[in-house]
Subunit: 195 residues, 2 copies
């Protein structure tokens, strides 16, 4: 029907999350129409991915053994922000507000599961060895995130470290009328005096 | 924030149609977690795309000068099915009903535009040189598709060739209640006797 190499590339695209077979076909047809320089560059970038590693300290994506953030001695070394995956770091870095370090858990705590894949042991080791004063649990505001936060809090209780979570409330630009009850409850409970 | 090669690959994915920057990040993170053999294969398939050409006869995707369909002498040589792009060929081939040849137009006729990119001249040449008996205009059932069909019909009127279009009516599995008026009108006009 169509050349094998075309079919193979469609299959590769279709194996990506949120890309269905029809979308994969459209993507490959789009790429087929691009000039070969762009295609070559795309292909090389893809191959280069295997030269990336996970940071040995915080498990963020890194070019060498340590990521850019861990290598940067200007960052505040006393705070660790715990996130589920590296994309969360990107979002938090975009705010420009946070100056501390990170720790990528690699997922959420699931009960009835050993949670062996999560970098919890490594987090505890860092808290023990580095002079950490605050752990910010930047897990998602979901049931799984809540469970993970509680679990980590219990693991961290013997360390002399402040544990915080991101505030919950209304999204900026959101609409009270359409806010769900739980969010609105949080926004009321955590209301702040205007100064 | 993140390694350059990671950012570059995100940009490549974000340049694809229907892929936004957030989705591109998620795709690249997904790929980062895949084993390197799969990544290598993906990258090579992508590079291989530039070895594909358009068929010199019908403008379908081809590995050599002619596509698999044009090379296949078993196909009925008297019928040409005109489609907008190569993905339409894939869909029609999947039905297994059509045994003739194709001709990829490369788009639709737009007025006030020279339509130089469309392979109309090449189609007329084929009709003249090959023993074509029927042209099936498999353009999309849209305003642009209708305009293209009318335009092609006017160009083909001097040739002794039957010109047909795909039937319009209800989609199989569809619901009369939710069919739009135009589709329902077509379905009524083109109703068939049950034999």
């Amino acid at each position: 029907m169509y050349p094998k190499s075309f079919k193979k590339l469609i299959d590769h695209f279709a194996s990506l999350p949120s890309v269905g077979p029809k979308m994969a076909e459209r993507l490959v047809l789009f790429l087929f129409k691009q000039d070969s320089a762009k295609l070559k560059d795309f292909s090389e970038s893809l191959a280069d991915l295997k030269n990336l590693h996970t940071c040995q300290k915080c498990f963020n994506i890194a070019e060498g053994t340590l990521c850019e953030i861990c290598k940067n001695k200007q960052r505040e070394q006393k705070t660790i922000c715990v996130v589920e995956d590296p994309l969360d770091i990107i979002s938090i870095e975009k705010t420009g507000i946070y100056k501390g370090l990170y720790h990528v858990l690699g997922g959420v705590v699931l009960f009835g599961n050993g949670n062996q894949d999560l970098k919890i042991k490594e987090l505890l080791k860092r808290v023990e060895e580095e002079k950490v004063e605050e752990i910010i649990l930047a897990v998602n505001p979901t049931t799984e995130g809540d469970a993970t936060a509680l679990y980590l809090k219990s693991k961290l209780k013997d360390f002399n470290v402040k544990i915080t979570r991101l505030a919950r409330g209304l999204s900026t630009g959101g609409d009270i009328e359409y806010a769900d009850e739980i969010t609105l409850s949080s926004a009321l409970t955590n209301r702040r005096e205007i100064t």
